[in-house]
């Protein structure tokens, strides 16, 4: 059979190889063109800044002694804790919405290199959350430290500022990556969001029921390494002396997110879209 070559038609548009940079541009277009991004990121900023400064304002008005080697920066933690829900939601949706709408088939047809698609999504989402979080936490840190002095709080130092802004933003953005990986694995928005909320709350609830002596170690572990507790330890060094402290929480979360993304990559590669 005379097999004619594929080049019977030649496009006038020059062909070049697609790269990760192209995929990043594409994912940026995708994430900025959806309302869910505006909603989740908008509410995230509102929670971090609004709740963080309101609590500081209330504490300042009450004038009680907070103690416990906390600084004024620590008041931001409640807003950040709530905003995690927004980050989880957007992280899951970034991947699972492609599955729910069928868009993933169009995406993977346009870019058969599945690893590149996942990498581009993860990088764009991570940077988006990190930058917005960094701006919000810096703002709320400035407001909080300006609003309250005294109250038995320790003086803020440079490393404390770094942890409360850069460190916390890293922690939350990495947690978002974990959500993105879970969204890739579960492929269903509601299911993946529920799984992430369970992951966040279940350890503390389980620990509350572990009263037996033989389970003490496990209970301690669950409490110390639960997602909310680790967030607190970035702001305030725990008095117990065990468990993660300082930057440990960020490193732990980076490790967990890396493992989850590895699993997500393996699943994305092997499954039919």
């Amino acid at each position: 059979m005379t097999a004619p070559s594929v080049s019977n038609y030649v496009s006038p548009i020059p062909v070049r190889r697609a790269t990760l940079a192209d995929a990043l541009a594409s994912e940026w277009t995708k994430i900025r063109s959806l309302r869910s991004t505006m909603w989740t990121m908008g509410i995230m900023v509102l929670l971090v800044f609004g709740v963080g400064s309101l609590i500081a304002m209330a504490a300042g008005a009450a004038g009680d002694d907070v103690g416990n080697n906390a600084s004024a920066l620590g008041f931001a933690v409640f807003g950040v804790l709530l905003s995690i829900i927004c980050v989880i939601t957007l992280g899951v949706l970034t991947m699972s919405s492609e599955y729910n709408t069928g868009m993933i088939r169009t995406t993977l047809t346009a870019c058969p290199n599945r690893g590149r698609v996942l990498a581009a999504k993860a990088i764009v989402f991570f940077l988006l959350v990190f930058v917005i979080m960094l701006v919000s936490t810096t703002l709320v840190a400035m407001v909080d430290t300006a609003m309250i002095r005294g109250n038995g709080l320790v003086e803020t130092t440079g490393p404390m500022w770094l942890k409360a802004t850069f460190g916390v933003s890293l922690y939350v953005a990495l947690l978002g990556l974990l959500a993105l990986a879970v969204g890739t694995l579960i492929r269903h928005s509601a299911g993946a969001i529920a799984a992430m909320l369970g992951l966040m709350l279940l350890p503390m609830i389980m620990a509350a029921f572990m009263v037996a002596d033989s389970l003490t170690d496990l209970r301690e572990f669950l409490l110390e390494y639960s997602i909310p507790t680790m967030l607190f330890t970035i702001y305030v060094t725990p008095s117990s002396g065990s468990g993660p402290e300082g930057w440990d929480a960020v490193f732990v979360m980076a490790g967990v997110a890396a493992v989850a993304l590895g699993g997500a990559y393996a699943a994305l590669r092997s499954r039919d879209a």
């Binding site: 594929v6 548009i13 190889r17 192209d22 994912e27 709408t101 088939r105 039919d272």
Partner: protein, 394 residues
């Protein structure tokens, strides 16, 4: 050029595609036909690497899809018009796909113009009609100006004007030297668009030939014979004579006979010998649609049964005498195929197991909608390459 070799896909115990080998050549429109669930979409998904074949392989220009230097620049695919995120505007949807393949952004507005969606480019695709969605999908396929184009059911949901447009677009793309592979379950549509046909049923290749060859090979002719209505015994005499001469005789609803296996002059001679007058003796050609239906009849997965409404029948009342609207009066006219089997087996063909069961023994109601009616072609497929005649079930 698309080349599949021994392509097989199994989902658990179900085999969607079995040992499929074919080639799709550039310069012509190749139609990919088969009933619902015959494996067309699965095959298309395997071509673009979304599904991994259980065995066998499919290549484009000699390379598997995933190994093409820049796949969307070589292959454009419309697999599912609904595979878009409805919250994104048409322009940004296309822009994200263009960026993914390193295609210049101005190309987005070009393809929006080609498919006629410039006016709604800024609207979220959630609000698009089925036809607009198809146009957006076609725009995405054209984005990379590729040499190979795949379209899965591109005319679904399009209005008559849109169908005509797609038909001309396919032909034009093929005329430019591209490989165009279009799936459809409508033979009538393919007869107008395609030059070459690949027909599958239950995941297996049924035919791979040009449209002309397909017609020649599959549409057998028959003769319509009518004896005077006033002399029913003449009809029986002629039937007996024809069967004796090796012909196959079926009766049509208006009392005429459909004869295969006996040439026209011989029918005339037989009638003369039997001393039966004829009111009609005419040659007929089966349509392409019918040829296709006959070919895929055994391979149809989803078959409707008569709606019996069991248990819903009331005790016989005053109206019970008229179970059907047209009871006892089957619709007259040329357009009605024989009700017991609209697609009779041709001489030398295997008797079709489904065809027999289709002859429902006195269904409770000869309901207004005949069960297992052949799928109606869209109203917008008017003229046909083949001569449409009494066979046409529409």
């Amino acid at each position: 050029m698309i080349e599949a070799v021994g392509l097989t896909k199994r989902y658990g115990a179900k085999t969607a595609v079995h040992n499929l080998s074919f080639q799709v050549r550039p310069g012509v429109v190749t139609g990919f036909l088969g009933p619902n669930g015959s494996g067309k979409s699965t095959t298309m998904r395997m071509i673009v690497g979304l599904d991994r074949p259980t065995s066998g392989q499919v290549t484009i220009g000699g390379l598997p899809y995933a190994q093409l230097p820049n796949a969307p620049r070589q292959v454009g695919a419309l697999l599912d018009a609904k595979a878009v995120h409805g919250g994104r505007s048409a322009r940004l949807h296309l822009l994200s796909l263009a960026q993914l393949a390193g295609i210049p952004a101005r190309r987005v507005d070009e393809v929006l113009g080609v498919v006629g969606l410039q006016g709604v480019a800024g609207k979220r695709s959630k609000g698009f009609s089925l036809g607009m969605g198809q146009r957006l999908g076609i725009a995405a396929a054209l984005l990379g100006d590729p040499q190979v184009l795949l379209f899965d059911e591109p005319v679904n949901g399009l209005d008559p004007e849109g169908i005509l447009w797609v038909r001309n677009l396919m032909k034009q793309l093929a005329a430019e030297g591209r490989t165009v592979f279009v799936s459809s379950h409508l033979m009538s549509e393919m007869a107008l668009t395609a030059d070459h046909l690949i027909v599958i049923g239950r995941g297996q290749l049924l035919a791979d030939m040009s449209v002309q060859d397909f017609i020649a090979a599959n549409s057998a002719g028959f003769a319509r014979v009518r004896t005077p209505d006033t002399e029913p015994e003449g009809r029986e005499k002629l039937t007996a004579a024809l069967v004796e001469a090796g012909g196959q005789v079926l009766s049509e609803p208006d009392g005429a006979l459909r004869v295969t296996g006996v040439p026209l002059p011989r029918i005339s001679d037989l009638a003369h010998d039997a001393d039966v007058r004829l009111w009609e003796l005419s040659p007929h050609q089966a349509s392409l649609e019918e040829a296709y239906m006959r070919m895929t009849q055994a391979a149809v997965d989803y078959r409707s049964t008569a709606d019996q409404r069991a248990g819903l029948w009331q005790a016989p009342g005053p109206y019970a005498q008229a179970p059907g609207y047209g009871h006892g009066m089957p619709p007259q006219g040329w357009a009605q195929p024989a009700p017991e089997n609209p697609y009779p087996a041709l001489p030398g063909e295997q008797p079709n197991p489904y065809a027999q069961q289709a002859a429902v023994p006195a269904a409770p109601a000869e309901a207004p909608a005949a069960p297992a009616a052949p799928p109606a072609a869209p109203a917008a497929a008017p003229a046909d390459l083949t001569k449409r005649d009494s066979e046409d079930a529409r």
